[in-house]
């Protein structure tokens, strides 16, 4: 299956290019338009998704405005308002901690998707890479009980990240050697990782809990390997330091992509693999490295969740997690930039937190519906973003034509 699309072609390509599209992927088209439309388009996209989501709420007989208000209050973002005080402020603080806990892996998985996009690859495998990271983190974290805490954490995190990288590199390697499309291979790797996880933690599985023989869950992370909590009560799931790891990863993402030779190679391959190869860049190796980097981010996300607040992995967690898809949504909405990804991750983290069952007042909106509402809104955001690319492209073409009144007379199409 080929997932290529014609590059945005101006009149000057039309004739010189007998088969437009070779070497230019949709992903590159997405990245081409970073910056076009600025922050306005993502905001409009989000707004539109909420409006359509609100319609669903309305049609099924609930009040969208009070529903959204209730969701917002559940996110804890009202902690930022100076007028929130007293008990409200304490509740808000706890909610905001939860929001940021959810934001952490979203940033990392978003980066995993965004980095691939910038190299012209579509990483649908964030889910599997995250799962592999989580599996390794829980295995390392629950073993080696005597190890010093800091060393134990570093070991678990590093191995989880490397595991995710290796898992993702399979897709990169297959793309490089056999041309197998990464969309298909990463989907397949997701489900393979899923069933490996279910196997490992399932009843009788090799990593199933030694204490609870009747529950399909892993052993617990040893206490000393928990990530330190710096805001809130560690007993009440306060905010762990993973958020800083995620933010640091975003900085690394930005520097590597824009300032390093490897990032230059990745971007060159993403925009035009033929030209990259012609320029002496090994396209295949770049695919492997890029996917490896993606897996690194996603594996890190798995480690943060496991060591930061989950402390164990049940087969059910592995099966219902949708973080890989959320990562795609985050990256697309964040336009594959570091800052955009962080902001989009915050939005989705808040949405997840705000609609979590315990936060909604059943008299306003049935909490058991909220999760599905979130899913609808997330789907709609991505749907609209996919068309938003087109809008951005149209804007850009117009701008270019206006800015270039005397375009190339020479390389014109028409022979």
């Amino acid at each position: 299956m080929s997932v290529t699309a014609p590059p945005p072609e101006g009149p000057e390509d039309a004739g010189l290019d007998p088969a437009p599209g070779r070497g230019s992927t949709v992903a590159t088209r997405l990245t081409t338009h970073v910056g076009v439309g600025g922050v306005v388009t993502p905001l409009l996209t989000t707004l539109l998704a909420f409006v359509v989501g609100g319609l669903v709420v309305l049609v099924t007989g609930h009040d969208p405005l009070s529903t959204y208000k209730a969701i917002f209050d559940g996110t804890g973002l009202n902690w930022l308002f100076p007028w929130t005080s007293g008990a409200d402020r304490d509740t808000a603080a706890i909610n905001l901690q939860q929001t940021l806990i959810l934001t952490t892996p979203l940033i990392l998985v978003g980066l995993a998707v965004a980095y691939a996009f910038r190299a012209g690859l579509f990483n649908i495998g964030g889910q599997g890479q995250y799962t592999v990271g989580a599996i390794i983190a829980v295995w390392v974290g629950s073993s080696f009980a005597g190890m010093p805490g800091a060393l134990h954490i570093v070991l678990a995190v590093v191995l989880a990240a490397l595991g995710g990288a290796a898992w993702a590199a399979i897709a990169g390697g297959l793309r490089a050697t056999t041309g197998a499309n990464e969309v298909i291979t990463t989907i397949m790797l997701n489900y393979t990782a899923l069933w490996i996880g279910v196997f490992l933690f399932g009843l009788g599985g090799p990593l199933q809990s030694d204490v609870q023989r009747e529950v399909p869950v892993s052993n617990d992370i040893v206490q000393s390997a928990h990530l330190p909590v710096f805001w809130g009560d560690p007993e009440l799931q306060g905010l762990h330091i993973g958020i800083f790891v995620a933010l640091a990863a975003a900085v690394v993402f930005s520097v590597v992509l824009n300032r390093s030779t490897k990032g230059y190679e990745a971007r060159a391959v993403g925009f035009n693999p033929d030209a990259a190869r012609y320029g002496g860049i090994s396209v295949g190796w770049t695919y492997v490295l890029v996917m490896g980097a993606c897996g690194l981010f996603a594996g890190l996300a798995g480690a943060m969740d496991v060591l930061g607040w989950q402390f164990r992995v049940a087969t059910n967690d592995v099966q219902v997690s949708q973080i890989g898809f959320l990562g795609i949504a985050v990256a697309l909405l964040g336009r594959n930039t570091a800052i955009g990804t962080c902001l989009a991750a915050l939005l989705f983290g808040a949405l997840l937190q705000g609609t979590s069952v315990r936060n909604l007042d059943p008299s306003v909106f049935p909490p058991e519906l909220a999760g599905n509402l979130t899913t609808i809104i997330q789907g709609l955001v991505v749907l609209i973003v996919s068309a938003d690319v087109l809008v951005a492209w149209l804007v850009r073409v117009r701008l270019r034509r206006r800015a270039d009144p005397d375009p190339p007379a020479t390389s014109v199409a028409a022979t």
Binding site: Y278, P407, P408, T410, A413
Partner: protein
């Protein structure tokens, strides 16, 4: 759709085409009055660029009418308008005297207009018969009548003397045969007007000769033919009349009887002299590029280069001339490290580089002006500075990090030296004009100070000014002692630039000629049947 396949069940072309075709040579009286196709004031703009600007064109019945013009003159655009692929901004189209709105290829076919595209519109994985009947399929009992389709194609093929195997898969047949499939398809739809866009660009000499025979036969049977080309000799040879386009406008229409190359050339480029490059005789030095007995396969695993040898010395331009598809692209790729040869050797300045990767070849001193600047030569979405760094971004990096300051400074210097206009170092390459994009590629490749410079079709699609710039620059680099391997399909360019001309045919060098050789001599060798064919060292 239902009715348009019914009258074809017999396998015959549409009956309405018989008026013109039934009596070869003798035109029906009613038809004689109005031209087959008339275009009045056709205008088509892409953005601010007017590809066609008030073009007039008249095709008489039963003539072969050439549409001549340089690359970019607007020939293809005009014919895409005629075939309904493009909608004109202004102007009118008359078919058989009546004003029509074409709008879609289907409508064009209904009007009796057929088109043979430069890049064939065929489905490679389907059979010849399936390709021909596609869009007007014979059916039986609701199913596709495969045998009926093959019969229909066979009959058509016999009738017009266009030999094809209806059951062959298109990707397995030769380019010349593929073209016949395209022609057959047009005839199958009852085309009275047949438009061929640069039909000889991909053909060997024999295939070209056969095509010309076919076209003459079709004309004698009453088909009116538009023959798009930018080759003067060919146009004089094939056409009855010629209309010349220049920069989107009609310059004039002349009878080929009485016209000669010089007069057509004058019309086409708008000035007396075609191409002349001022240069001193070369002073060849030591050999810098040596290729010996090279064998290379193409993407499909077929032998494209078969035992090719050549030597380029410092201070000379050696041109490789030949019909497109005789192994030129594979030769370039093998030398540039983009394709591993199956056997043979490549040496640059004495260093063996056979099968080395592109990076190694580049750092060994090979510059490569790629054939297709947009697909290969440039990353269009990169800035000019980033594009200029494509060769050597690693050399200027430190600890794996790029140094934007250096890249910028170098870009500024190169942009100025090579007179690249239309943007600063931060502008994306996409927004430059074709000529400036090509200058950008040349700036990068020469800026890398190579010993050997491969120039593949370096002036393709450029206007005259840009062509002159490129030619002067190549000669200057030759004089600076670089070894230049020029690969071009334009004989004029080859003769103007080269110090030695190597003619390739089917992956081998079949002869070496001095630049003073006539186009006839070179052309004859290009067919592989030249007299006294010598294997060049």
């Amino acid at each position: 759709m239902a009715d348009d396949h019914q009258h074809r069940e017999s396998g015959a072309p549409a009956p309405d085409s018989q008026g013109g075709r039934a009596a070869p040579g003798a035109q029906a009286p009613a038809a004689a009055g109005s031209p087959a196709l008339e275009l009045r004031g056709i205008t088509k703009a892409f953005g601010a660029l007017k590809a066609n600007d008030g073009v007039d064109f008249t095709l008489r019945r039963g003539e072969i009418h050439a549409l001549l013009g340089e690359n970019g003159a607007g020939k293809s655009t005009l014919m895409n308008v005629v075939y309904g692929m493009l909608t004109p901004d202004a102007g009118e189209i008359r078919v058989g005297g009546e004003v029509v709105r074409v709008g879609s290829p289907r409508r064009a076919m209904d009007l009796g207009i057929g088109m043979v595209f430069q890049h064939f519109m065929l489905i490679p994985v389907m059979t010849v018969a399936e390709n021909v009947v596609l869009g007007s399929e014979p059916r039986r009992g609701g199913l596709l009548d495969q045998r009926g389709a093959e019969q229909r194609v066979q009959e058509l093929s016999d009738r017009f003397g266009l030999a094809v195997d209806p059951s062959a898969v298109v990707e397995d047949i030769t380019v010349g045969q593929q073209q016949r499939v395209e022609i057959l398809r047009a005839l199958d739809r009852g085309a009275e007007v047949l438009v061929l866009d640069e039909p000889t660009a991909v053909l060997t000499a024999q295939e070209t000769a056969e095509l010309v025979g076919v076209l003459r036969r079709l004309r004698d049977q009453g088909t009116s033919i538009v023959f798009i080309s930018h080759k003067l000799r060919e146009v004089l040879d094939v056409a009855d009349r010629v209309t010349v386009l220049r920069r989107g406008r009609t310059v004039g229409t002349v009878e080929t009887a009485g016209a000669d190359e010089a007069s057509l050339a004058r019309l086409m480029v708008g000035r007396e002299v075609l191409l002349r490059v001022d240069k001193q005789p070369s002073e060849p030095r030591e050999p810098l590029l040596e290729v010996e007995d090279l064998h290379v396969t193409d993407d499909r695993g077929l032998h494209a280069v078969r035992g090719l040898s050549l030597t380029v010395r410092g201070g000379e331009i050696v041109a490789v001339a030949g019909v497109d598809g005789n192994g030129q692209s594979e030769l370039i790729d093998a030398v540039a490290g983009l394709r591993a040869p199956t056997s043979g050797t490549v040496r640059v300045a004495g260093r063996e580089l056979t099968g080395a990767d592109a990076r190694t070849v580049r750092s060994a001193g090979v510059g490569h002006i790629a054939e297709d600047r947009q697909r290969r030569g440039l990353v269009l979405d990169f800035s000019l500075a980033e594009n200029l760094a494509l060769r050597d971004y690693r050399e200027s990096a430190r600890f794996g990090l790029l140094r934007p300051g250096r890249m910028l400074a170098r870009a500024k210097r190169l942009l100025q030296e090579f007179d690249v206009r239309g943007g600063d170092p931060g502008t994306p390459a996409r927004s430059l004009s074709g000529g400036n994009q090509q200058k950008l590629v040349i700036a990068r490749e020469i800026g890398g100070n190579p010993e050997v410079l491969i120039a593949a079709q370096p002036t393709r699609g450029l206007d005259v000014g840009a062509i002159e710039f490129v030619h002067r620059r190549l000669v200057a680099e030759r004089d600076a002692g670089r070894a230049i391997l020029l690969v071009s399909l334009e004989l004029e360019e080859v003769r103007a630039l080269a110090d030695r001309i190597l003619v390739v045919f089917e992956g081998r060098v079949v002869g070496e000629l001095p630049p003073s050789a006539s186009e006839e001599e070179i052309g004859l060798l290009m067919t592989g049947s030249g007299p006294g064919t010598v294997q060049a060292a």
